[in-house]
Structures are given as C-alpha cells and as structure tokens.
Symmetry: D2
Subunit: 321 residues, 4 copies
C-alpha cells in the first residue's frame, strides 16, 4: 500500500483526492493536513464523505508517508518548500501552478502523462497540469508532434464553477451565477504559459498565438474546449494521427460523433471529437476539471510514479446526468 | 410625481425597487442611499441597470422626498429610527421584519393589501410582509375569513436563492447550491409569527399549529408553497370562496390547473391553485419572492398610500423561461 | 463471475446499471437487450460509456445468464413474463412497479434490503422498490418497528428529473423545467401503496394517512424527502433507535447535522437526519434516485442474492458538486 | 392604437410578443392565430399570462388589422404568402429566416434598426433578424462602417435553450441539458449568410471569414457572443467609434466593464463591452435572444414602422437574477 499525505486538505482538489483515494486499491491515507480545520472531522467539511471517511484533519507527518499531494493553492507550494524540510525519498505531487514551467530552480516534471509518461515514472517531484491546460494540450499534442501547428490557434473553453475554488466571491454567488455566463481573462489566462511550453516541446518551431477565451459556465464540473486552427490534414488523416498518438493512453477517447461536457463528468477521461471545416481542423475537448483536470490526473501520476496500472482507482462511475 | 428615497440601496430588494421605480409613471427617484457604496454609480452595483439608471448612491435627504423605502435588512430599520429624525409628513415603507408584528411601541400597518387595503391607504408607516409570509397568508386568508381553519396546517415552501440576500455564505456558493436542495429552520422560521398574527386577525379562534418546512431551492427567484389542512368545503365551494375573497385584488389569480413557480416570476402576481383530496384542501401558492414577496408589494403599498391605481408600474413582462 | 442480462437496455435505469456493472468485480454482462436500439453500440445511447463499454444491444439469451434485470418500465414486466418462458434457475430483478405489492399471483420478494435482507437472500424473483418509496420507507422503518407510528405522517419529497424517465414530455423540456419547480400527484402518488404495505409489515396497527406531496425539482439526480409525524421519543432516543436499526446496513447513514441532496448523489447511500420540534419528529431522507432509488439498489439486491458482500461494486465516488 | 394580428401564436416568439404587446401603450391585439391550438385559451399555452390575457386562439382576420407578425417558424412564412392574399396596406413583420437575405423575389427590408432604421420606417414588409445574427452584427457594424474589417473574425456565441424553440428533442430534454454544454453547427450556422450580407453592405470590401462556433448553453434566455479580429484602433478609438455609431440607438449600450448575459435578460438591450489585447479587438455582445434577438426587436420594428417612439412598450424590468 502506498502511504499518502495530503497538504491543504479542506479545498476542492483535496476533497476530490480523498474521494478517489478512499477506495483506491493500493492507497492508504495516513494524514490529511489542514491549517484552517485542524482537528475537525473530514466529513464535516467534505460532507459527501459522511459514512465513508472517519478521519480527522491533523498535522503532517512526512516521515510516515511515501508521497504527499500539495493542495494548498497557487503560491502556497513554493512557500511550503521554504518552510519544510522533507525526507530524502518523499515524493511530491503538486496541484498548484507553482512549478509547472520548467526552470533550473526546481526539479519538477510536468505531470501530463500523455506527453511525459516516461519522465513521470522516474520523477520525484511532479507538477500536476492546470485544468484548462490539460483540455487544450490534449487537443493539440498530436498536431504538435507532427509539426502541424503552423497558424494561430483559437480556443474558447467553458469551465464549471469548481474550477474557481471554494472561496466566496462576487462571481461564485449562486444568485449571480445561476443561468449566467461570462468571459474572463480573455487572451491572458495564466495557463497559456504551460500550454505554449508543452506545444514547443513537441514542435520547436511553434511560434504562433494561442488565442484563448475562458468562459465561466453555469455548471459545477467540467470543461468544454473548442480548439481550431488551419491544418492540411483530411479528417481521416487527423483521426488516424489522433488515434495513434493516444493508443497507449487509457484516458483519452476519440469520439466520432459530437460530444457534450457531461460525457466526461465524474470520470478521468478526456474525450476528443474532430471536425474538418474547409481548411480548419476543429477539436472539441472535454474533461472533468476536478478529475483529469486536477485530482484524477494527480492519482494517475501517482500510479505511474509507483508502477501501478495507470487506471488503478480511476475506473469511476460517470454521473451522466 | 411621488418623490422617493431609498435607504440601503445596494441590496437585492433595493435593486428590485429601482427596476420598478425607474419606469413607474408616477415615481421620481430623488436619492438612493448606501453607506457601503456612497458615491458610486448605481449601475456598477445593479449591473442590469446599465443604460437605464444614471444615478449615483448618495446620502439621504429626507426633506426632499414624500416617501422612503427602508431596504437595509432586518434589525437595521429599528436602528434607523433611533438615529434619524424624520419630517412629520414623510411616509415610510419598511421592507425589514422589524415592525411587522403589532405592538404598542410603534404605529406600523402590516402591508398586505389583500388583508389591509383600507388601513394601508390611511397609514403613514407600512411594514412590508415577508416573502414566505405573503405566499402562505394569501393561501390561507379566505379560510381564515370564513373561520374554516380548524385543524393543523401543513406547509412546505421552496424559495429561490435571492430570498437569502446577497451576503456570501456557505449555502450561497454556486458550487454547493447548484443542483442542490436542502431544508432549513424547519418548524421555526421567523415568518411564522406574522403568519399566525394575520390568521388570528381574521379568525380569532385559530390556535392550531402552522407546521412550516422551508426549503432552499436551486433557482434564483420565486416561491412555491404547498399548503394543506382539513376543510369541509367541496372544491367548488373553495373555488368560490377564494374567487370572492380576491375579486377586488388585481394581483391574486386563481388557476384551475396545476401551476409552476415560473408562471409568477418577474411579475407581482400570486397564483393560487386549489385541489381537494379526501378531507384535505391543498392550496399551491406561487409568487416572485422579490416582487410580490418584497419590492413589488412595497410599490403596491406605495400606490395605495398615494391614491394611485394599485397596479401602477406593476404590469410587468413575465420572464416565462 | 455472475452472468448478467439486461432487458430494456436503452432507458435511464439500464444505463445506470451498466455504469455499475461494467466495473463490478463479480459481474459479467452477457447481453443488453433493447427492442428500440437492437444492433446499435451501447455507447451511442449511453454516451458517457464511450471508451468504457464496447458492447452492442442484442436480443436476449436467457440460457446464458444467471440473472436478468428488467428495465423496460412499468407494465412491461408483467407482459415480459407472459411472452417469455424463463429457465428454471434464472433469477430476476425487476425494476418496475409491477410486482412490488404482495400477491398470491406472484412470488416476488420486495427488494428493500434494510427490511427484507434475509428473504432477499433466499429469493428467486426480486421486486426492486420505487425511488420515493425507498427514501420514505427508510425514514420511517425504525418508527414502524417500534410500533411508534400513531399519527398521520406528512411527507414532501423533491425529485430530480431522471425520476421521470427519458421520454420527452412538456414537463421534461429544459426551457420549461430550468429554474422551475412544481407539485404533481399530490396525495395520490403510486408509491403510496408500497410504502403503506411496508409500514404495515412492521407495525400491523398502522392505519394513519401518509400525506405525500411529490415535487418536481430542477435538478437531475436525487431525492430530498422531509417526513414528520408525532412521536413521543426524545431526539436522543430517536437517534439511538435509528442507529440500532441500521447498524448492519452499510448504505444508511445517520447524520447529526443538516443534510443536502448532493451529499448522496452518485452514491448508493441513504442519509437520514433527525430533528425534534415539539412533539414532532422530523426525518430528512436523501438518496440518489437512480442508485439507492433504482439501479444501485438492484445491484445491492443482486449482491445479497448471490452471497457477495452487500457493497460489492457499490463503493462509488460521490460527485459532490 | 395599432391593430395587430399574430400568426403562429403558440410558439416561443409569439408568446414573447404577447407579453410585450399586452401592455404596449399603442397596441391592440385583434387576433392570435394558431392552427394547433385554435379555440383554446391563450393562457393555457402561455401559462405566465394567466390573469393578464383573456383571449383565445382564433383564425386570422387580415382585414381587421394594421400589421401581422409571422411567428410560424422557418419555411412557414414563404408558404404563408403562397396560401394567403393579404390586403394592400397590411404590414408584415416576419420573425422567420425566410426573407432575411435580399432578393429580387421579395420586397422585405432587413429589420435591424441599428443598420436600417430609415428603410424600416418606409417599409411594408420587415424581415426580423436572427438572434445570433443580431448579437454578432451589433458587435461588428461600427468596424464595418469604418472599413476596418480586414482580417478573419472569430466568434463563439453561447445561447439559451429558448433559441432552439419548444419542440421536444434529445437536446432539449432537461436531464440531458441540465449542467451541460455542447457545440453545434460549427462554422456552418445558418445565420452566417445574413451576418455576411450585413457586413458587406457597410464594408463592400469585406471578404474574410466569419468563423462562428455556436454553443448550447444550459440556461433559458440570452446570448453571450465573444467576437474578435485584428484591428489597428486603440481601445479608446474603438470606444469612440462604437459610442458614435450607437448614439441614436436607444437599445445598444457600451459597458466599460466586463459583462454577463443576465444583464440583458428580459430587456431589449444589447450590451457591448470592448477590450484590446495586442492587435486584437475583442467585443463581448449580450442580448436576450427572445427580445432583442426576436420579439423585442419585432416590436421595435413595429414602433419605427408606425412612427412611435422606438422604445414604446420596450422599457422592461430586467429579471437580473
């Protein structure tokens, strides 16, 4: 059994990790740390775990675990490393954006298994990708691998509310958000940096713009990204390239018919649908932002890191409705 | 033109008042006071009023108006009277619960026009009823008038999120509330006092329990109340009594078919539907909690107070969907 | 491995069964019959199963299976038995209401494990309970067992849209139902018969009314039932009686704090919360209508029928949001 | 009073017209024709009109009216003209797409007041624009007027469910659509033709692509369109050009802060928000698809046609929540 600690246990991504790890066949949750809720029952915070989880939030004990997940939010992971000295062999999976971009200042591997599986298997520290980044990169990696990204890319992606975390804000208020949609951070979302870095890894020549319009959707879970760019491939060629690229990746599925975001909700899948319109290739990419976009991918990374089947604990019942 | 001031202008009920008064044929908004937003453009807070309202929040000027609406929330109206000396002839319509119950300590008239129209017409100070109270009292007044409330009353009422105001709380967060319902304050909701007082006014003998289960619905506007009690009337007798009771009240409509909450949304109507099952009379009552349940009723009271047609400025386009 | 056939495979309950059985450790799906979709890929109808289910709808082969689930809808199960001759040892779990009421004309056992576990273990034919009936009976069984139901019972239960099935109707249209709630079949819902039969089994003296108001909620999954009646128990006594009653039943959880419907969504749990108000005991009962209210309970019955752990294949990741 | 007839009175756009015309100060509804509901009370179909509309659906009487609105749906207006001979002076406002494109075969004027107000004032027959087309054209007209559309235009627009009409379909089912989003008709939506025709009217040189991705949103009313293209204007220049273009058009509002779709819901407004990112001008355009996108614009056209104030009967209370 892999012994596990969670740092920042009261947030959305930690709750989702707990939902996965409680029934994971090879996982043993040793501690769940939360500075804001220390000593409380976990099921008082993650209320759906009533009757399933009998642990309390406690302080961390790094010596007692094989791996920790950092769920404290952006900026907190850097300060976590400054404040804590970790055992030599302790592995770390960081769900924040603090170490996603390559740098000589750190040794984190970017944890997108569909791009980096071998490096992940040998890594000690993993930077788990962003939710939008996951959906968008999976839509584009086969193009980049074939050096076929030679024009601007246009992306609009609609996200569920859980992508914005649990802090109450003006735009998280139900009375405002119910039946409402809005744009935010157009052309300037912070995930653009990791997207561009990943694409350049596979296609060094890629210099075009990724024009990205994020949209706040009025639903809780999921991302639907529409991605299009010029491409000389026929639809059949594109389908073949995508099928080939993802043939050894159990969570990416190519759909030959139109898709919707609920197909992926409560699963670790990314569903890709391709269409060709004139010289444009359109890729529709859907994931569950808390699973393939966060905690599910973190468990997938853990599985790879510890030599388990990649889908251990991740064959989940879809919610469907 | 009636000159109007609004106290506590940044909240939900004040926003709804502004939406009504801007196009009211006899209303002139003189000031909208807000301590939290003083000096700001009203359309920055009530964003749907962009292009319709060019006023800023200012301080109050009681000398310049005929009537003020108190929209600061429960408990604030009492302290408003302690802190301010009002001109002799200034009328006040209070949307809080501070003065709804009769008391020798104050001279407020309970502003439910379908029960108190004559008293309202002569009043100086009006206590606008609560939203649940409005829906439930309108369901029961004809029974009380005929001394026909002789058994326990059972009420479940589902309310839209705007009934809970705009303060961010755990239960106002979209990620929690979306697709979710829950009970609260079962048997103990604060509106029970005004409901029982109103029923006793019409039926002095009424001593039975009003068993009231409030439910938080996952929608923004509206209340659907189901109300049942033993009643010896036939369905036809009940229909006749209800039609008679409400014949001079333009906003209460009796439906002979089943109803839904959206029929009333964005209108000042209360729709009542009656069914008889065995010895039980079931009354389904629907209102828009911000209109007939708050600001619409406040304008209705203003109209009565100033001798205008009761429906002036209140013939509203339903949203329907 | 238990060999399984599904009759009526294109509907909601069959889809949910498939989601459960695909990853059930002891289940092998042998055929999924659908007269409307014969020959089609299952993942074209239950689209969330793309990449998980590679079966097609076929005709039935009763000789090849150990158990069949009847998912064709109310009235169809009776005609299924008229049209088909089944192998002697074939077990049947019927999700329709056709055989829920005891009768000399059939040998079905009512499949509520929390009331009938021993009989289910020995049964050949199981009638899976209704969704409302499950939520309401689980709220009342401990009272009935202690002969403590001595007054009218008042129930309001709000259901998700999947409870009404997938046929398009006026009230299933999104534009109508979105942000809308409404009552239906007040005092006359068809589940009342099985509720009353179950209560009388445990408390033969029970003759009072179960006043039941069903409400169509504007969400997809889940039932929230509020149930109250007079009861002389203190809250502590009630908690003890409920804890004792359900101590050997893994899916019923007593919550000491208020609950909401999403706590149960995408799980097989029933969460009960008790409050005492004056002489009234209030029980709030929440389930997922497609799981504990239908297909999850069907799998729970299958597990009992075949001597598996009661929760095999039913430890599900909650959706939570 | 303008005497009005409505053809195809049972659909969504007719219902919305009725909501507007019932309280329009200069409108008299003479007949509402519906072949499917002839003889029924209108308030049985448009249930929110209970207590406001006492008319029945009848057959048409063209001699008795000044103007008719055609609300029967796409394709039906052409056959309407084939089947009916209209009085010489009868004006027609067609809400279908049948006559939106200029043609020598008909004399319809394209009814976008912000482009064609003078022609509308003199017209006999008006083709009311499509909902997406309205939102997108209003976002682009100032650019076209200044010959500033010199690169591809990228549009993603999310629409409420009422845009798809009331016919029950797989994608109109609540259980499917709730909490769900999906693309449809990418690059091929039928409104592209009228958009391109309008832009070319103002900028004859415009030959670039309008890349349009329509998205089905999980809300009832409203369209949020994001529109971007290369533009050498600074943000301030753009704001000035847009303000100037729309200064005589009461329903188009420029917002200097980010917008959301509910700001426009239940109003006839189009709210435009501009941002400049690098060389890209982003225009966010929001309307209510049933009002400015259909029936509200139809009434606006009627007002212009009959010399009334453009906003007569169109100063509506926003729903806001």
């Amino acid at each position: 059994m892999i012994k596990i600690g969670i740092i920042g246990g009261a947030g959305y991504t930690a709750g989702e990790l707990l939902r996965l790890l409680l029934w994971h066949p090879e996982a043993e949750i040793v501690f769940v740390q939360s500075s804001s809720h220390n000593g409380q029952a976990i099921s008082k915070v993650h209320k759906d775990l009533l009757g399933e989880c009998y642990l309390n939030f406690t302080s961390a004990n790094f010596e007692a675990v094989d791996v920790i997940f950092l769920c404290s939010g952006h900026g907190q992971s850097k300060s976590f490393f400054e404040k804590n000295k970790l055992p030599e062999n302790l592995k770390v999976i960081d769900l924040s954006m603090d170490f996603r971009l390559e740098s000589k200042a750190h040794a984190f591997v970017y944890g997108l298994p569909e791009m980096n599986k071998e490096a992940i298997a040998k890594a000690k520290y993993i930077a788990n990708p962003g939710c939008f980044a996951t959906a968008i990169e999976l839509a584009l990696l086969p193009l980049a691998k074939h050096q076929a990204l030679n024009d601007d890319v246009h992306v609009t992606a609609i996200t569920g509310s859980t992508g914005a975390g649990q802090a109450p804000t003006e735009t998280s208020h139900f009375s405002w958000k119910n039946n409402n949609v809005s744009l935010y951070k157009a052309f300037e979302h912070q995930h653009l940096a990791e997207i561009e870095e990943s694409l350049c890894k596979l296609q060094n020549s890629f210099k075009q713009a990724v024009n990205f319009i994020p949209v706040r959707g009025n639903f809780s879970r999921g991302i639907l990204a529409s991605v299009y760019t010029q491409c000389h491939w026929s639809l059949i060629e594109a389908m073949v390239h995508y099928q080939n690229y993802y043939q050894d990746h159990p969570f990416v599925v190519i759909s030959d018919v139109n898709t919707d975001v609920k197909q992926a909700v409560n699963t670790n899948k990314c569903i890709l649908h391709l269409e060709k319109h004139g010289d444009k290739l359109l890729i529709v990419s859907t994931i569950d932002n808390l699973l393939k976009g966060a905690s599910g991918q973190a468990v997938q990374n853990m599985n790879i890191l510890f030599g388990l089947p990649e889908d251990a604990g991740l064959r989940l019942k879809p919610v469907a409705f």
